[in-house]
């Protein structure tokens, strides 16, 4: 394949690192989705890891889908539905996989970038992170589980308001909306995410989620 990879996969001890590596914005184009499908279908299931950490290289998590590129792909007719479902299944993998998935977010986390993040078990972000589902402003909708996840975390009213308006929102607002679980200074974010992944690795139950977060943020105070 020509060009640089869009995603990197690395195992350190028992933690698997998924990094979006198409700097500066880590945009998601057709190639990104192809790589993510391969990663979630074949590579991660075969890897010996006890937790996954998803993050973006550089200043941002992801500015979301590369619309022009996706439009070209989707325009291909009946192929579009399979393509979209495959993308969604790749995201859904992080929700379904039976090991904890920690997402560390800095900079922008928009559109499909946020949809991917919403499929993790934990979302930690830096104070300068910016969130949003701007699809409606392009006359589209978030089509990869973002609507369902947003309703689940923030409730129907806020989901309707923010998805239809397509407006971006701050880290504090994301915390209020239960879209993220905790905010850390940018310098500490990755370290905290690794700490959480290690703590939850091998001993994760959904009902323990709050305990782990309490531990993590208490150390902060």
């Amino acid at each position: 394949m020509v060009g640089n990879p869009k995603i990197s996969w690395e195992v350190q001890e028992n933690i698997g690192f998924v990094r979006l590596v198409d700097e500066p914005e880590n945009r998601m184009d057709t190639r990104f989705f192809r790589e993510l499908l391969e990663l979630t279908k074949n590579i991660i299931p075969a890897a010996d890891v006890a937790a996954i950490l998803v993050t973006g290289k550089g200043r941002h998590f992801s500015s979301g889908a590369d619309l022009e590129d996706l439009r070209k792909t989707i325009r291909g007719g009946h192929y579009s539905h399979d393509f979209l479902m495959a993308n969604y299944r790749s995201f859904r993998f992080f929700d379904d996989v039976n090991i904890p998935v920690v997402v560390a977010i800095k900079g922008v986390c928009l559109g499909s970038g946020l949809e991917l993040a919403l499929h993790g078990d934990f979302r930690l972000c830096s104070a300068d992170a910016l969130f949003g589902l701007p699809e409606a402003t392009f006359d589209l909708i978030p089509g990869a589980g973002g609507i369902q996840k947003f309703v689940q975390f923030a409730g129907k009213a806020k989901a309707m308001e923010l998805i239809m308006q397509g407006k971006s929102f701050s880290a504090e607002e994301a915390l209020r909306l239960h879209i993220v679980d905790a905010i850390f200074p940018k310098k500490e974010l990755e370290e905290k995410a690794i700490q959480l992944a290690k703590r939850a690795a091998g001993d994760y139950r959904k009902y323990n989620k709050k305990d782990y977060l309490k531990e993590l943020t208490h150390r902060e105070i």
């Binding site: 439009r71 979209l84 969604y88 369902q148 998805i163 239809m164």
Partner: protein, 244 residues
């Protein structure tokens, strides 16, 4: 016997207003809030959001007990009216545009059931909610119990329905029954602001797609809902090409 309730339909730009009027408490004379055809025709004028509110100081105190007493004498007729009333609230619940209840004052019984069939509820600090039906030996008959349980869980819903207790705005917010509490006389304006935020510059097809997806969260399983989303998304992409 109480006087007939009146429904006023108004358009403010792209936003539709449905006003329940039977001053002062806006008692509902029939289980049927409005005639289905009239409501459908109003929606078909192309409104992008619908706000439901009460005229004057209150949202609605529900059906007045005297009226019900005389109506149940003709059991068949009353049952048919109840079914039609249910159709109306199901229609509002499933409508593919945002439906917002702007609640001032009392919101009781069938009035509360109407508010619960909306997507979003905005009320005022002084608003009150209750299902007083139990005091007459009846229960909310327009889907209110089901819709309330979805918001509050079974335990709270059972208490409210079986005790007929009244709760204030703060409690309603705590239980997840209302989404926002405003100062006195501000609910309607807040609903207008929210409706404008959601619909300004948005084509109706995008609004409908978002609402379809949001309604599917409840109606379908995750996998099915996502299949529908992929279809909606692909269609919107096609449409955005043809409009270019």
């Amino acid at each position: 016997m109480g006087k007939e309730h009146e429904i006023i339909l108004e358009r403010e730009g792209d936003i539709g207003l449905l006003i329940i009027k039977n001053l002062p408490q806006n008692y509902l004379k029939r289980p049927e809030l409005i005639e289905m055809r009239q409501l459908q025709e109003f929606v078909a004028t192309g409104i992008k959001a619908l706000i439901i509110t009460g005229a004057g100081r209150h949202f609605s105190a529900g059906a007045d007990p005297e009226t019900i007493k005389s109506q149940v004498k003709d059991k068949k007729c009353f049952t048919e009216q109840l079914i039609r009333g249910n159709y109306i609230l199901n229609y509002l619940d499933e409508l593919k545009i945002p439906v917002i209840a702007a609640v001032s004052g009392v919101c009781f019984g069938a009035g509360f059931e109407i508010a619960l069939s909306c997507d979003i509820r905005i009320c005022e600090l002084t608003s009150l909610f209750a299902f007083p039906e139990i005091n007459q030996g009846i229960f909310p008959g327009l889907g209110g119990i089901t819709r309330l349980s979805e918001l509050t869980g079974k335990a709270v819903a059972m208490e409210l329905v079986m005790h007929g207790d009244m709760i204030n705005a703060a409690k309603a917010k705590e239980f997840g029954i209302v989404d926002e509490v405003t100062a006195k006389k501000q609910a309607l304006d807040q609903a207008r602001i929210l409706a404008k935020k959601m619909t300004d510059n948005r084509p109706l097809r995008v609004i409908k797609a978002v609402m379809t997806s949001i309604n599917n969260c409840k109606a379908l399983g995750m996998e099915e809902a996502l299949k529908k989303d992929a279809e909606l998304f692909a269609r919107l992409v096609e449409e955005s090409f043809s409009s270019e």
